[in-house]
């Protein structure tokens, strides 16, 4: 099961898309309280979103996006039933993706 939650609803003539991803987003600057060792950086570096297969948003992120990232965006000219897909890739090469239909 994918760890991405997407909610896409129509608001006027645009789709309001809200995405929640599950990710620790470690900056690499934090220390482990027990061992005093730096926790290695582990964060999402790229996110892309498509509407019916066409790219609408591509993002590059640094480590300063909050843990379990939230992303909200709007797409004009979308219709109910259109497919919204979101995927991410982190600095370790891990990936995840999910797809929903606009409600």
């Amino acid at each position: 099961m994918s760890d991405i939650k997407i909610r896409a609803t129509m608001a006027g003539d645009s789709a309001d898309i809200k995405v929640l991803m599950n990710h620790p987003m470690e900056t690499g600057q934090r220390k482990d309280a027990k061992t005093g060792q730096l926790i290695p950086a582990h964060f999402i570096q790229s996110v892309s979103a498509t509407l019916n297969g066409k790219p609408v948003l591509t993002a590059q992120w640094g480590a300063a996006i909050s843990k379990n990232p939230f992303l909200g965006f709007k797409v004009k000219g979308a219709k109910a039933g259109d497919k919204v897909a979101v995927s991410w890739e982190d600095n370790t090469g891990a990936k995840d993706s999910a797809e929903v239909a606009v409600a």
Partner: protein
């Protein structure tokens, strides 16, 4: 004794081979990612270097960019930021926090009908100006808003 040595060599031999194969397999996506992820810009330690990494000149101030963020953030680890732009032809939105160790937070490229709007949550180490830059037609514009942070979200 001999038998033990033999099996030891055999196992290490195999695991070694697997490790090499995994490393070779893993190397590829990392390399591809390194090419697309703007390392220079994201690891820049100052606003000026971040702009340089992004390949833009210092942006001109614009009143057409609206930033919605709290005046006071109690928790710097989660600061909601919403950016919307009225600059015609907005193709990218970039969020920077001037006093973070690495000022560049995120870059969003918009296409195919995406409205000039993004909403996300960011980490802030201390009270700072949050600067939002917009790229439209090869020109860059920015606006900023100060967010006071009571507990930092970096380091900790």
């Amino acid at each position: 004794m001999n038998q033990l040595r033999r099996s030891f060599l055999k196992t290490t031999g195999t695991t070694g081979a697997i490790a090499v194969a995994v490393a070779a397999g893993l190397l590829k996506p990392t390399e591809v990612l390194a090419a697309s992820w703007n390392k220079n810009a994201f690891e820049a330690k100052s606003l000026a270097d971040a702009y340089k990494g992004l390949g833009v000149a210092a942006p001109a101030d614009s009143k057409d960019i609206a930033i919605k963020a709290p005046d006071i953030a109690e928790n710097g680890a989660v600061v909601p930021v919403e950016v919307s732009s009225k600059v015609a032809g907005t193709s990218s939105i970039v969020i920077l926090v001037e006093k973070n160790a690495n000022p560049l937070i995120a870059q969003f490229d918009l296409a195919n009908g995406a409205e000039p709007f993004v909403s996300t949550r960011i980490k802030m180490g201390q009270t700072s100006m949050v600067r939002c830059m917009v790229v439209a037609g090869g020109k860059s514009f920015s606006a900023s808003k100060e967010v006071k942070v009571t507990i930092g979200g970096c380091g900790g």
